[in-house]
């Protein structure tokens, strides 16, 4: 297990290096000089040259990448060109909001979706199974921003159950939670449907396998068969999907944060792109990428912990 952990973490690091390099190239190969765009049409050539030098844009590409990595290792993501604050400080200030949002969305979706899928699989073709199938598919097909807009309209504007915008007063836990409910539902609801369908399918597959027949042939109690013998195998694909799904959740969070005017990485990316604040774009996309890489690595590690066969496969 320890060897697997080492291998998986180093693989994760390699992925981060590749992703960052690619990201860096993509931003720099886009036509147009960032310094010129940033300063606007009335900038003089001297001003552009000055800003380019300040941002290090006058140096060769390879040099820029190396320098970026060097700064990255020291935790320096560059300076915000507008407020002149360190990008790292801005990004890490916004990060907890987004992590809370996607974290509560996915945990909520797991708590509802996984038992729902299990129950459907074990009571296959009953009215409950069919009903939960319809609801699940309906949940999957609802885009996050649509759910966000309607929930905002219904629960915040008409019913006034939950606040509409912002993230709540800092330090006031309950205020923050009440601000979290609607956005978390908006991005989590499709995952309830998705997870319940996925768990149902893999549960049905596992319940048909020979070793489950063996467990039954030994008269093991049904709860042991389902929750210890079958579920451990049935959640494996789900864990992988959740790991990859963090990427989708990050992009869903972007829309939701805009709709609810919540602070967060998504809102930060949106604002910095509209103001052409290129170091902030770079920094926040980088942090999102790292979150994505970490979440896939964690899901792989969980699977390796659950399934001994995976430990030997990397």
């Amino acid at each position: 297990m320890f060897i697997y952990l080492l291998k998986r973490v180093s693989l994760g690091l390699v992925i981060v290096v590749f992703a960052v390099t690619l990201l860096f190239c993509m931003i720099h190969l886009v036509p147009g000089d960032p310094a010129r765009i940033l300063l606007g049409p009335r900038a003089t050539p001297e001003m552009i040259a000055h800003l380019s030098a300040q941002m290090g844009l006058d140096q060769p590409m390879a040099m820029q990448i190396l320098k970026f990595f060097g700064n990255l290792l020291r935790g320096d993501l560059g300076m915000d060109v507008i407020t002149n604050r360190p990008v790292a400080e801005i990004v890490f200030g916004q990060l907890p909001y987004t992590l809370w949002l996607i974290g509560s969305a996915i945990v909520g979706a797991m708590l509802i979706g996984i038992p729902l899928g299990c129950y459907s699989a074990l009571h296959r073709n009953t009215w409950f199974d069919r009903f939960s199938g319809i609801i699940s598919v309906a949940c999957i097909t609802a885009p996050a921003f649509v759910v966000a807009l309607y929930s905002l309209l219904i629960f915040a504007v008409w019913l006034k159950w939950f606040p509409a915008v912002g993230a709540g007063e800092p330090g006031d836990f309950f205020d923050q939670i009440s601000h979290l409910v609607l956005p978390a539902i908006a991005i989590g609801i499709s995952w309830v449907g998705y997870l319940s369908r996925l768990v149902r399918a893999s549960m049905l597959e596992v319940m048909g396998e020979n070793h489950i027949r063996t467990a039954r042939a030994y008269g093991l109690p049904e709860n042991t068969v389902v929750y210890q013998y079958a579920l451990k195998l049935a959640v494996l694909p789900t864990v992988t999907v959740i790991g990859v799904g963090m990427g989708f959740l990050l992009s869903a969070a972007l829309f939701t944060e805009i709709v609810f005017s919540r602070p967060g990485i998504g809102k930060l990316i949106f604002d910095s792109i509209t103001t052409r604040n290129y170091p902030v774009v770079m920094g926040s996309v980088l942090v999102s990428t790292i979150i994505f890489v970490i979440s896939t690595a964690v899901s792989d590690l969980i699977n390796a912990w659950l399934d001994p066969r995976i430990r030997n496969s990397l």
Binding site: T214, Y218, G219
Partner: protein, 329 residues
């Protein structure tokens, strides 16, 4: 037939249908079978002859579309077909257990051997370490070296033969009255097959259980079993002591089957013998004998009339039965 109390398992007139799109498929018809205490009974027959249905009916884990249309299955004096699910559960793995065909898929891949072997002892009131000790002892008996530490390993860390030994250890751990072995050696190579068969024989005599042994392999049946049951398309066509049935088979199907056994072929040949024709459609049965379409000795009577079961040897202690018109003369 011996008295019912001497039989661990006694099946009478068992018929099972499967509901399919083409109507009901009569997978088992009027099966009578006894397994005497301490004996090994072999069942042979082609694929699709109802061997698996027979097993699933004994352990009462049948497919959803299966329906028992007639008969009784008495196990230690109680009918399994009318037994409560709780009572059935208490028998499974305690009084009767089963070794399945494919060892690579019968054990749970994500749980250690130790956990699986300890879990099936859940009814016992012993401590966990005592249960583990018992499992380790059982593994040692089936020839797994260093059993105590191997309890911590997962199924994929064992070879196929080892996994089948573990399955047998699990099945015999509770010292059941009946062990059902569903082609336990089919997935293994010939050398391993001999080892497993020898081991089964040894364990059977030390535990004193009965075994219902399902196999395609006639040589293994001859080696291991006391009695043999020959099944064809859902019916028992011949049954009796192994020595009698294999030495002087009465049913044309048994005769053909024995001719097809590669071990019995003396002449060098490019083509292995086969039985001409195919198994009849079980949802549309012929009026007469089930084997008529492939039989080389059929008469006009065979097409129209169902044959009855006849005792081949009158008065002998161990009876030999055959279901064929030729023997009724």
């Amino acid at each position: 037939m011996s008295k019912a109390t001497d039989n661990v398992l006694s099946i009478r007139n068992l018929s099972i249908d499967y509901a399919t799109q083409e109507g009901s498929l009569k997978a088992l018809r009027n099966v009578d079978l006894d397994i005497p205490k301490g004996q090994i009974v072999g069942v042979v027959g082609e694929s699709g002859c109802g061997k698996s249905t027979l097993i699933s009916s004994i352990i009462q884990l049948m497919a959803n579309n299966a329906k028992t249309t007639s008969g009784t299955v008495f196990f230690e004096g109680e009918d399994l077909l009318t037994m409560s699910p709780t009572k059935l559960k208490s028998l499974r793995g305690q009084r009767m257990s089963i070794v399945f065909q494919d060892p690579m898929s019968t054990l749970n891949p994500v749980l250690t051997i130790g956990k699986q072997m300890v879990d099936i002892q859940y009814r016992d009131k012993r401590s966990k370490s005592q249960k583990r000790q018992r499992s380790a002892d059982m593994l040692a008996q089936v020839g797994i070296p260093d059993p105590a530490s191997r309890l911590n390993q997962y199924p994929h860390e064992f070879s196929g033969g080892m996994q089948q030994r573990i399955s047998i250890a699990m099945a015999l751990q509770a010292q059941p009255a009946l062990l059902i072995a569903d082609e336990p050696t089919t997935a293994l190579d010939a050398t391993l097959e001999v080892q497993i068969i020898d081991m089964l024989k040894e364990l059977q005599s030390s535990i004193g259980c009965s075994i219902l042994f399902i196999s395609h392999h006639l040589g293994v049946i001859a080696e291991l079993c006391n009695q043999v049951v020959v099944m064809y398309a859902g019916e028992i066509v011949e049954q009796g002591p192994v020595s009698r049935v294999f030495k002087s088979p009465k049913h044309p199907y048994t005769q053909k089957l024995l001719e097809c056994d590669p071990a019995s072929i003396a002449k060098k040949t490019r083509n292995l013998p086969t039985i001409e024709g195919e198994i009849p459609n079980l949802s549309d049965l012929p009026a007469g004998c089930i084997f008529t379409s492939r039989c080389h000795k059929k008469t006009a009577q065979c097409e129209e009339l169902k044959p009855k079961r006849h005792a081949v040897t009158q008065g002998a202690t161990e009876k030999h039965f055959v279901t064929c018109h030729l023997e009724s003369l």
